[in-house]
């Protein structure tokens, strides 16, 4: 080992120790919040910039930057198929937020990143003279930062859109399909690539995520990127490729919660390369890497400090436990094979069956498999698959790991990727002639038309009827139809108006700021103040009287519209009076025309103070 390598190795150890020390021990919760909020954007920005720079250098070095086809190494026919498959994915579900607990939060974080380059979630926003301001707070989300960062970049370069996450996923879909094709092609030539795409196309679950605003698709892409880069590094372990591998691993680790596990597979790949070449050449990026990942342990600290982030249900004490495995395995079996009759899930029984057959078939191809596993591609696939399987097992031990729960199904996507690629690998060991290959593709096409597409449509129909989805849609509709009135929305889902750049606060906050709200009404700060709330049916009243959430203790309001839900009603009202106690009203009588004439700039400052009270 040269002295430079020794220095780098020492520095890597030092920075890793520093990262662990700061991430887990030295920084307390407040400091962790401060660092993630203020430095999170810049750390992920630096990682992504370095990744792009190294990717550019690699493509330049390998001469693949000269043309589009050279970049992907795709023929025109393959490009057309990839485009068609992408279109199929993007048309199988309705576009919009489809996980209403997650995706608006990601959109709000991206909005904050775009506007303030900070990573906290906005809780209040207000408009002043045509500019929309987001208030300052220390609310950090549990979700990793890479996806909202990309959304914020898209905002930066193409202008702000509330559903930018959905647009990003639409743009990422052909990237995913292309990477899937090239991964399949690495296993079994063009037909392997086509088979990978065809198998994934039978799974409506991917389409749901491609048409939503979540980070699942990006997670799959980053897994495939890590796999590709790992293959390249194992073939020619240069410092440039190592840098790219490390940086792609860092980005993957910040895509989904559990994706930080893939750091392990990067380590395995580096070890495998060292074992093959009998040496490892480290670079300065590897020194930086632990520091660039600082937000991951810090966010973990923030999550651990707030039990609500785990969304534990009644009776559950731990987020992860071996006790959950039994029931979760049953749910997983239900998901993979559709065991419960009549239940609509975005699944592919065909894929599960083919995967099981591939597992059986691999017994007949043990030799080829073992031989392939020694190749760079095999080693890379084994390293990534190892973590994929750990990921799957972890999911089974997770309190929220019921795969047949509609909101949880998306967590299985990395496992589905493994199923697809493993099946492709095994089936391409069998050197089928042209007619068999065509028959397989015909069968898959018939399955897609006969089963997958109608299933996707039925699932989508069912999904659009969920209360949560209706609530978000109705709120978005109300926000867009009343936005010209310069309104303030009081609603529990305040992020939906905020990402539409319409001022909104939650009821809990509104109850605390009643006197300020009364002043807003008095001064006409907002054109209208609207309330949007879910009213439940009163079980004591057979006539079906609607009871609200205690709003009438604090406010008087006039009902404008309502919408039925399965569990009650959504109501949309206009605030007419705030009920205040004696002396609770804010006095602004000192503000007179003379006062404003003497202090012309004070009017804006006073208003800002009032808005941020």
């Amino acid at each position: 080992m040269s002295s430079k390598q020794r220095l780098i190795f020492g520095s890597v150890l030092l920075s890793a120790c520093a990262s662990v020390a700061f991430g887990f021990f030295i920084l307390d919760l407040n400091a962790a919040i401060w660092v993630v909020k203020n430095a999170g954007y810049w750390l992920i920005g630096a990682t992504f910039s370095l990744f792009l720079w190294h990717l550019f250098r690699l493509l330049k070095e390998t001469g693949r930057i000269t043309s589009w086809s050279n970049f992907w190494k795709l023929s025109r026919r393959e490009s057309i198929v990839i485009a068609l498959v992408s279109i199929c994915f993007l048309t199988m579900s309705e576009n919009g937020f489809n996980i209403v607990m997650d995706q608006p939060v990601l959109a709000a974080t991206a909005f904050q990143m775009h506007q303030e380059k900070k990573t906290n979630i906005p809780t209040f926003g207000y408009e002043m003279g045509g500019a929309f301001h987001l208030s300052e707070n220390n609310k950090i989300d549990k979700r990793p930062l890479f996806f909202p960062f990309l959304v914020s970049l898209l905002h930066d370069f193409t202008g702000y859109r509330p559903l930018q996450g959905v647009w990003l996923n639409a743009l990422l879909t052909p990237v995913f399909v292309g990477l899937l094709f090239t991964a399949g092609r690495a296993f079994g030539g063009t037909s392997g690539g086509m088979l990978a795409m065809a198998l994934f196309l039978t799974l409506p679950l991917l389409s749901r995520n491609a048409c939503g605003g979540g980070f699942e698709l990006l997670n799959l892409i980053m897994i495939l990127v890590v796999f590709r880069v790992a293959c390249g590094y194992l073939q020619a372990p240069t410092p440039l490729r190592l840098n790219l591998l490390v940086l792609s691993g860092l980005l993957l680790a910040q895509t989904r919660y559990e994706s930080s596990l893939y750091v392990l597979s990067i380590g395995l790949v580096v070890l495998a390369a060292g074992w093959r070449m009998k040496r490892v050449e480290l670079s300065w990026i590897t020194v930086l890497a632990p520091l660039l990942m600082l937000c991951v342990p810090l966010q973990n600290k923030i999550i651990r400090a707030k039990p609500a982030f785990w969304e534990l249900r009644e009776g559950d004490e731990l987020a992860f436990s071996l006790d959950y495995i039994g029931s979760n395995l049953g749910s997983a079996a239900n998901f993979f094979f559709g065991l419960t009759e009549g239940e609509l899930l975005p699944i592919s029984v065909l894929l599960s069956v083919l995967f099981c057959l591939a597992l059986l078939a691999s017994l007949f191809k043990i030799k080829e498999l073992a031989c392939w596993l020694k190749s760079p591609g095999g080693l890379a696939a084994a390293s990534v698959s190892f973590v994929l399987l750990i990921n799957g097992l972890l999911l089974m031990a997770f309190h929220y790991g019921q795969m047949d729960n509609f909101a949880v199904t998306r967590l299985i996507l990395p496992v589905s990727l493994f199923q697809v690629l493993y099946s492709v690998r095994i089936y391409t060991f069998f050197r089928w002639n042209r007619s068999v290959t065509w028959s397989v593709f015909m069968a898959l096409a018939i399955y897609w038309f006969g089963v997958t597409r109608p299933l996707a449509a039925r699932v989508d129909n069912q999904f659009q009827g969920y209360d949560g989805i209706i609530e978000v849609k109705w709120l978005r509709e109300k926000v867009s139809s009343h936005r010209h009135e310069s309104p303030l929305f009081l609603t529990q889902s305040n992020l939906i108006p905020l990402i539409e750049r319409v001022p909104a606060i939650q009821f809990t906050s509104a109850f605390k700021r009643k006197s300020v709200l009364e002043l807003y009404l008095r001064l006409g700060v907002f054109g209208e103040i609207f309330l949007m709330y879910k009213a439940e049916k009163d079980p004591d009243d057979p006539a079906g009287r609607i009871v609200d959430e205690g709003l009438n203790q604090h406010f008087e309001y006039e009902l404008l519209d309502e919408y039925p839900l399965s569990t009650g009603h959504l109501q949309f009202s206009r605030l007419t009076r705030v009920k205040l106690d004696e002396g609770e009203a804010i006095d602004v009588d000192f503000i007179t025309p003379e006062f404003l004439a003497e202090n012309p700039r004070r009017r804006w400052e006073i208003m800002k103070e009032l808005l941020l009270r």
Binding site: K117, G129, H133, D156, F157, V525, R603
Partner: protein, 617 residues
């Protein structure tokens, strides 16, 4: 050597006697009009002739450029030029995308932009520089009830009127034209940067411009400042073109462009001086007095502009000068404005549309430029682009000092920040200029690129996205709301009584000022009865602290109307804007409006039949 040159010049002088006589005559005419006319005559002169002088200069420039391009097609490699333009255009369009992607089109300041649009509308209709104060739609256009001559140099209004001529009148033409000027500025900036530092220099100019939110602000409004910078840039490029190969046609193009530049802003006439310096340098280089017909025409074409300046000089009421100030310019303002300028250029917050990277890179480069001039001595001036840039840089500095010596030159206020654009042009161009001259250290160059990119991505983009620098422009928001309300709820032939009637008139609504409407209240109500207006609506703005409303013009004591409040909204803290419908008069002998407008014959003159204003345009 000098003696031969002067002898040659003397010979040329004799040959060019006739042309010189014509040119002197033009200058004399200009001088006579500037010093001899009273404000009334001067006002009439620019009011009626201004459009045609500008048109003449534009046509002259177009013809000269056409001839230059035709003549020089064999002189340089067309393929190289095409590549340059193609690359430049691609970079400029990409830069334009970054510039405009977060922008909101519209008036940036209701006191500055609408008069320009009004002038353009009148140039389109009558070829007269006129701003409406009150009026109503009429079959032959707008029936002017009152108005006044525009005091602004009219190049932007003229250009907008050309777009109206070609595509029909609409307010948005002014915004789109400025956006196009923004992209054109990037393209010309690219070409200028390319002269200094190749393609890298061109790209650097575009990126530096993109890092300035102030440019976005101006490129999406209807103001006159962007065209001014564009013309300075164009004149600089034409100067280089002329100085490289001085001939009559290039000189003419330069002179016509300089005339147009002088019409762009009040103080832009200053840039005629560097153009004269360049022309003289061209004569020295060519060894003869060129004095083309274009140059001879330049002085007479400036006569209406001279009349405007004469008119302004004699009308202190138009200077908007606060009572405590005796003069518009003064050295005492320089010291007062300098801290404001420093605050603007080095501002770190997101409340001003500045670019920190410009002074950080540009100011040291200005110093380096002086060092380079000293180092290279006479050789420095031999290159045309060096000569031109140095002369213009000097005048851009003088211009900046002039702005600082202006009573309203507080650059850290949004209304005045636009005055900084020409100095920003200097800061943008000096960076590739210096980089093209010094021995380049790759690390320094990389550092500069990273600095520009990081600033653009992580500072400019969020500042532009938030547009907090717009936040006190509540007037523009108010107008958007009023127009949207009128479009959704009011009749197309409604009469709007508003303190700012111009904004309504530009949208083809009839509109009177409150004072005028109070004096003619009964006539207005009769016109409504006659069906000339569907209804009259009154826009009030008043102080409001939740208990008492004061300060509006429509207070009990003044307002003769009985009204019903339709809607109200607050756009400035403790102030409300209210739209009310006029129902009748509050006075005893009031005219009551029927529930439905009467279909009986018109009471007022027959000119005022009520066609849709939209068709009239």
């Amino acid at each position: 050597m000098n003696r031969i040159l002067f002898r040659k010049m003397g010979r040329e002088l004799r040959c060019a006697r006739q042309r010189i006589a014509w040119a002197l005559l033009g200058v004399l005419a200009f001088g006579l009009i500037y010093f001899g006319l009273g404000d009334q005559l001067a006002g009439r002169l620019f009011f009626h002739v201004g459009y045609f002088a500008t048109l003449g200069a534009l046509l002259g420039l177009a013809v000269s450029l056409f001839v230059i391009i035709r003549r020089s097609s064999g002189a340089f490699k067309i393929s190289d030029f095409k590549t340059l333009i193609r690359v430049g255009l691609a970079v400029a369009v990409a830069g334009g995308w970054l510039l405009l992607v977060h922008s909101e089109w519209g008036y940036k300041d209701p006191s500055i932009d609408p008069p320009v649009v009004s002038s353009s509308k009148n140039l389109h209709l009558d070829r007269q520089l006129f701003i409406l104060d009150s009026g109503m739609p009429h079959l032959s256009g707008l029936l002017n009830i009152s108005g006044h001559a525009d005091k602004r140099p009219w190049l932007t209004a003229f250009a907008t009127s050309l777009v109206h001529d070609l595509t029909g009148y609409r307010v948005a033409n002014a915004f789109f034209l400025n956006a196009a000027f923004g992209v054109l500025l990037l393209l010309l900036g690219y070409l200028q940067g390319h002269l200094f530092f190749g393609h890298r220099g061109g790209a650097m100019v575009v990126l530096l411009w993109c890092s300035l939110p102030l440019l976005t602000h101006n490129a999406t409004g209807a103001g006159i400042d962007l065209l001014n910078v564009l013309m300075i840039q164009a004149v600089m490029l034409l100067s280089v073109l002329y100085l490289r190969k001085p001939d009559g046609m290039r000189e003419a193009a330069l002179c016509f462009a300089a005339v147009l530049l002088a019409h762009a802003r009040y103080e832009s006439a200053l840039f005629i001086l560097p153009v004269i310096a360049v022309i003289l340098a061209g004569w020295v280089r060519a060894g003869r007095i060129i004095l083309s017909p274009g140059a001879i025409c330049a002085a007479p074409l400036l006569i209406p502009l001279g009349a405007l300046h004469r008119y302004l000089a004699d009308r202190p009421d138009l200077w908007e000068l606060p009572l405590e100030y005796g003069s518009r310019f003064g050295l005492e303002f320089l010291t007062e404005n300098l801290p404001h300028a420093l605050y603007f250029f080095f501002n770190l917050s997101d409340h001003l549309p500045n670019s920190l990277v410009l002074p950080i890179l540009g100011l040291p480069c200005l110093l380096f430029m002086i060092l380079i001039m000293r180092r290279e001595g006479r050789a420095f001036w031999k290159k045309s682009e060096h000569f031109v840039f140095t002369v213009f840089a000097g005048f851009l500095l003088v211009h900046f000092l002039l702005i600082l010596a202006y009573y309203d030159g507080h650059l850290d206020q949004m209304v005045s920040a636009r005055f900084a654009l020409p100095f920003c042009l200097l800061l943008v161009l000096v960076v590739p200029f210096v980089l093209g001259q010094v021995r380049r250290n790759q690390w320094v160059l990389r550092f500069i690129w990273v600095l520009i990119f990081v600033h653009l991505l992580y500072v400019t983009m969020p500042v532009r996205a938030k547009a907090f620098y717009r936040e006190h422009h509540s007037g523009a928001c108010e107008q958007e709301w009023l127009e949207a309300y009128a479009q959704d709820h009011l009749e197309w032939n409604a009469l709007m009584i508003d303190r700012y009637p111009l904004l309504w008139l530009l949208e083809d609504y009839a509109s009177f000022s409150p004072e005028w409407s109070h004096a003619n209240a009964e006539n207005i109500l009769r016109s409504i009865q006659a069906g000339e207006f569907a209804n009259a609506y009154y826009i009030e703005r008043f102080f409001w602290n939740g208990r008492e409303a004061t300060g509006g013009l429509a207070t009990e004591a003044v307002n003769p109307y009985r009204m019903t409040v339709l809607t109200e909204r607050s756009f400035r803290p403790f102030e409300k804007t209210r739209i009310s419908k006029v129902e009748g008069l509050r006075l005893p002998a009031s005219v009551e409006l029927p529930a439905e407008p009467s279909q009986s014959g018109p009471i007022s003159d027959s000119k005022s039949e009520t066609p849709p204003g939209h068709d009239a345009m």
